[in-house]
Each structure stands twice: as C-alpha cells, then as structure tokens.
Amino acid sequence: MKETKKVRRPTLRGRLLRTVGWPLFAVLLASAFYDYYSALDRATDSQDLALERIAIALASRLDLDADDRDDLAPHLARTMAAMQKSGEGGDRLHYLVLGNGGVVAGEPDLARWTGPAGRLDEAEFADRRIAGETLRVTTYPHLSSVGPVTVIVAETTGRRDAQARIVLIDTVTPDLALVVLALGLVYLGVHWGMRPLERLRGTVAARAPDDLSPLADDGLAGELLPLVRSINALMANLRASAESQQAFLSVAAHQLRTPLAGMQTQIELARKEAGSQQRARLDALHEAMLRISRSTSQMLALARSGPQATQAESFVTVDLQQLLEESASSWLDFALASQVDLGYDAQPVLVRGSAWMLRELLGNLIHNAIRHSPPQGRVTVRCSTQADGASLLEVEDEGPGIPPAERSKVFERFYQAPGAARGGSGLGLAVVQEVALRHHATVTLADAAPPAGDGPPGLRVSVRFPVAVGAGPSGV
C-alpha cells in the first residue's frame, strides 16, 4: 500500500450538519436579537409615557397658575419635587419651562436641547448624553394661558438600563440555551440518521478479501439499496470473469499438456528402443521436452495464481507440515538423480491458503534449490511458527547463491541471473512471488551460509506468512 497523505474529505455528515446547523443557528440568533430589542422598546416606551405625563402636568400647571405669575417658578419646583418623590428608583428628573421671554422655571442648562419647535401638545423624545450620563429628554410645546411655552423634562435612564439588563438575561439566556440544544439535537439526529450507512461500511470492511458473495440487502434503507445492488452487480461481474478465466485456463491446460504427455511418453519409449547414435539425439530431445513441460506448468501456474483468476478461489486451512512431507515423495527421485541430499525440518504449521498454490510455490523452490546445488550439496526445507505467530517456510541450498544486487530482479518474469544454471525458464521465482502475494506473504532472499565461511554462500529463500489475516469463514 502506498502511503497516502491524510486528506480531510468532505463527509455527508459534515454536509448535513452544515446545511441544517448554520441556518438554524442564524434563525435562533435573529430571534434572540428581536426578543431583546422589542423588550428594550417596551422599557423605553414606559419611560416616555411617564415623562410625557410629567410634561403635560407641568403645562397644565402653567394654565392653572397663570394668574399668579410670580409664584410660578416655586410652584413648578414643588410639583417637580413631588413627582421626583413619587418616582421609583434613583433616577433624577430635570425640567425647564421656556416661555417667550426666556426661562420661566427650571434648569436653564436644559435649554440647549430645544430643537425646532414641533407641533403643539405633541411630545418628542430623544436620548441625550451629558457628563457621561444618558438622559431621556422630552420636549413638549404648549400654548398656555401665559403664552407659548416649551416644557422640557429629562430623566436619567438608570431604571430603563436596569430593566434592559434584566431583559437581556431573561430573553437571551434561554435563547442561547435553545441554540445549543437545537444544534446538539441536529448533531445527534444526523449521527443517528447516518447509522445504516455506518453499518453497511462495517459489513463491507469486515469481509474477507477473497469473498465475492453478494451483500445482504434486507433491512437496508431505501437510499442505500441502489448502492448495495451496484456493489453486488460488480461482485457478480468479478466472479463471472474469474470463473471464465478459470475455465479458459482449464481448457488451455488440457490442450497443452495432453500432447506434451504424449510426446514425452513417445520419446521415452524411443530412447529405450534406439541405437546409441539416435540415443544421444533423443536424450537431447527428452531434455528439451522436460524444459517445455516445466515452463508450461509454470506459465499455467502464473496465470492461475494471478489476482484475476484466483477471485473464484476459496482459501482453506493448509497443513504445511503435511505439504512438506508430501513434497519429499515428489522430489526425492529428482534429488537422488542430481546427487543432492534433500532434507527437512518440518514443524506443525497451519496456514490459511490454497493447497495447490502452496504446493506450486514449494515445488518451484525445491526444484530451484536442487538445480543450483553442487553434487553432494544439501538442500533443506523447513517450516515453523515464529514467536509472533507468523508462519515461516524456508528452502536453503549450498549453491552459488544470488548476489544482493540481483535479488530484486530475480522475481521478474523470464529474468535469468548471469551465471544461473542452464535450463531454467526464469519463471520459478515469479510463481513463488505471485503465490506469496495471494497469501499476503513476503519472500526474502539471503545467503544461507555464515559470511565467514569459505564455501559458496548458498541461498535461503524465506516465505513469511503473517498471522492469519481475515481468518474468518470465507467459504470452505
């Protein structure tokens, strides 16, 4: 597997969360603002109403006391003091009554807030700041019995501000809680809604790599059904193509091997019957036949163990120890004819795989080892279970070995290392590699002899099967 940079991909869940979450958040925020400002308005309105009443009261006072002009100012001051007392909270009231000739009563400071004269008997309101304090100011023009006057009443906004703070806490806190709760529910809902997809993902991930059986589509959400059906159609295609590949190879094997067997048999018979002169020719022919037979076998094995053809193959538990014991019967005669001492060290080992592929792998390793052994050389075949649970299959010879620089190339198809024994097809290790790949096993080449030795380095081929991956039931 190539190392891929971890890229954050847009997820369906994120998309759902964003498309539902943001608008919801905006709506809730807007409603919180609306609640706050409308409550604030109500607080302002009630203050305005109170100020207007005071202004009207002062104006009507002017009408009543019109005959007593000199006492007008003290009268109004008393009225205001009474008003101040009756008001709640610590807000201060200020007032000014402007007549034609100037100040009638009150604080002349307020004069700066007289705007252009409005309509008579209609109060106007405004917020004004003075000395770091906010004042609510009402201006009330009035035609009194003493002439046209403008009544200005101002009040600090302490009560109103306090009320605003209460409103802020009372409306915005529950609104924010609502935002959090709603977004939380959306999050949980999206998670819950995505669960069928999550389950499907789990089912697909838990399958053995060689399992091409269709996925069950019962109990699936309607949206997932087309996806699962497409996956199943794809699997069926793969299965069909693997099966047709297998069928083709099976026929090809028959078409190639039957005439080969006939020719080989005929040549062996002819060798027995021939005189000494033809005998040498027939021996050469027989030798060539064996080579053709062998490379045919290897090519068929390569094709049959390729990833496409093996899709239809099912893995079983294979007893490596027994496989090694059986290989002794198959290879002893060839070893004796090559004057090679073929030996074993077979421990009980079980691996998950295909028996014929492993037999092919082992056969190619043993054949190579015997072919490259010097006369009287030893070839040793081992299998064992490692401490970490992995299984190890090793074939070791006392031949010339493979120099480190060549080691990666010898697995290539048809590659012949310089100085390799004659008559090889260059396919043996390719078959080994292919079979190992199908079993998630790794193949390593090393010198068999200790580096200080004076003999040839020899070769040790190690095939390491990892601890059974997906050893679950994948069709037996």
Binding site: T258, A261, G343, M357
Partner: protein, 220 residues
C-alpha cells in the same frame, strides 16, 4: 495383470499402451468413458487408468459411477489440470491416485505397480515389494524366498513402509503405526527399530532410504 486405459488422445494412449505392455501388463484401451462400465463389469481388470478430460462423459463422472456401482478396482486418474484442488483431483470421488500430465514413464510405472500391489494385498493378504514378501494375515515375511524373522514392531514398520512404497513415510506416521505397542513412540525409537530392520534386511536388494529430517522410503 490387465489394465484398462481410458484416454482419448491417440499419441498418449499409444505410448502408454506400449510402455505398460513392455512392462508386462495386458492392455485394453477405450477412447471414451461411456463403454467403460461395461468393459469393467467382468472383473477381468486389475487397474483402470482414467483421463479426466474426456469428450462426452468426463473421467470424474466415470469414477463416481464405478464407485457408486460398488466397483473396488484401483483407479489412477490422469489430469491436465494441475493445481487442481483435491476436490477436482478425483481423490474424494473414489480415485486411488492421480498424476498430472505430462509425467515421466518410470514414475507412472511405479504408481501403477504400487496401486496393484495394494489392491492385491487386500484380496490375497500377500504384499510383494521387490524381493520382499509379506503375509498380512499371518505376519510372516520372506526375503528372496527365505523366511525373515521379525519382531512385532519391526513387522509393523516394514508393513507401513511396504504399503506406502514408493512414497516417503514420515517418522511421525511410523510412530503412529507402532502405537499399539507403546503409547508414546519417539522419533528416536523409530530410528532404532529402523536400524535393526536394516540389519536384518542386509543387502538383499531392499533398501530403507532415510530422507533427512522427515522419514523413510523403501527402495528396490
């Protein structure tokens, strides 16, 4: 000894008929599977060699049909499909052995001999390997016609090797065959019995060959 060969390829069947004929077997040949049950019905044959890839009825069906009819004739299957799982090799369907094409004639002859030897040992309880003759019912042995005195354990070992020949028998299997004498038979014990057996066989034309680290094989 009479062998029925069921093989449709003319070149191969001609070669096999000649080769087995030269080895002393009487040969009958069929190019298709359909007439085979009738040909075998008379019980005149000692072995059938059946190709799996036949036109019409295939070899596997023939093997199954013969076994279903109760025929116990030893059957050697020839197949072009290597790598075939054992399911396709016919072993589970009643074949006694199989060979993948192409094969070497000496190996084919050795397998044929072993199959006939084994089936005859069941019928006559006599087992012959080269100069060695074992009587499976009386547990007597002869080497080149001379009685060969053997202990019980030695006899069991020799029988296991002779029945399996020309295959290699793993030491642990030999230990199993001695389990009626001792509960736990070590590999060492097997080695000791084999060396005693070798001493008794001397150089009478029969060799027990050691395959390093794994077991033994009888060579003639």
């Amino acid at each position: 000894m009479r062998i029925l060969l069921v093989e449709d390829d003319p070149l191969l069947s001609a070669g096999l008929r000649d080769a087995l004929g030269q080895a002393g077997y009487e040969m009958d040949h069929l190019a298709a599977a359909e007439p085979a049950p009738d040909a075998l019905a008379h019980g005149m044959h000692d072995l059938a060699i059946v190709d799996l890839g036949l036109p019409g009825m295939d070899g596997l069906t023939l093997v199954r049909r013969l076994r279903a009819a109760g025929n116990k004739l030893p059957i050697l299957v020839l197949t072009a499909r290597d790598g075939l799982s054992d399911r396709v090799s016919g072993l589970n369907d009643g074949a006694d052995d199989y060979m993948i094409k192409p094969f070497l004639l000496p190996e084919l002859l050795a397998r044929v001999q072993a199959l006939i030897r084994r089936s005859q040992s069941v019928a006559s309880s006599k087992l012959a390997v080269g100069p060695l003759m074992l009587d499976l019912s009386t547990h007597e042995a002869w080497l080149a016609g001379e009685p060969l005195p053997l202990t019980g354990r030695e006899w069991d070992l020799l029988q296991a090797l002779a029945l399996a020949a020309p295959k290699v028998v793993a030491k642990r299997r030999l230990a199993d065959s001695l389990s009626r004498w001792d509960k736990e038979v070590t590999d060492n014990a097997v080695e000791i019995y084999v060396s005693r057996l070798r001493a008794k066989l001397g150089d009478g034309g029969l060799v027990i060959r050691t395959v390093r680290g794994i077991g033994y094989r009888i060579d003639v």
